[in-house]
Amino acid sequence: MSIELVLALTTGAALFGVGIYGALSQTNLVMIMMGVELILAGAMVNLVAFWRFLHPETAAGQMFVLIVMTVMAIEMAVGFGVAIARFRSRGSVEMEEAVELKG
């Protein structure tokens, strides 16, 4: 067992945990997006660690990280689009006030 790999995976798990806490506990849309960013960051650390310590000979691991970065950018773009639309129509991005979205 490589200590470096375990350290990197533990960092990934911790960032994932903090992100889950943030995404579930925050009431503001922008703060929820910050939680999701941390969750994706945790996934990225794991992917880089897997590439470096298990399969450095293939670039597929690095390619996967680029895809996660793309997902982060898309999440930001669409999230802020929704935030602007919501702010314009309701004057707030507080998710506790968005009761009409309840199923």
Partner: protein, 171 residues
Amino acid sequence: MTAQMFFIGFFGIAAIWFGVVVFRTFSMVRSALALLFSQTALGAMFLTMQAEFLGVLQIMMMATEMSIMAIFMVMFMMDPGGMGTMDMTHQKKLSLWAGFVSFVGGVAIAVFVDWGPIAAIAPGAAQQTVDLGLELLGRSMLIFEMAGLTILTAMIAATAISIQPLKKKSQ
């Protein structure tokens, strides 16, 4: 203890610490800066793991992304400076438990799974970039193209939902 082990641990702790600060501070600007530092520490961690291209890309991308995020946070928050120490959380206990259980589960998998043989060396920075380029424009080209197309769609969608409707504008 090797230098790589030390720096992975150091930047890992920094990334986690700043990640926690994001949700601990009342000031939105501090919150965005903490997320920027967390992501930068992650970029430094990538550099320590010899993923030079990804490390630099992460730092550059997050620096711009978090600056934009800080502007949006100041625009949208009711108390961006955090002067009123307003609590903007709900279901705290459940969230804490969900975060803790995910962390413990992740650590258990990291420690108890047999990951097989560990690679001692990684290719050099130049070789990595060549390999990544060949991967992106070879075997993974379809996935790479789809990512580009998805970004374009997201940009159009984000602009479409955020622009003011013409009808309302004229009123």
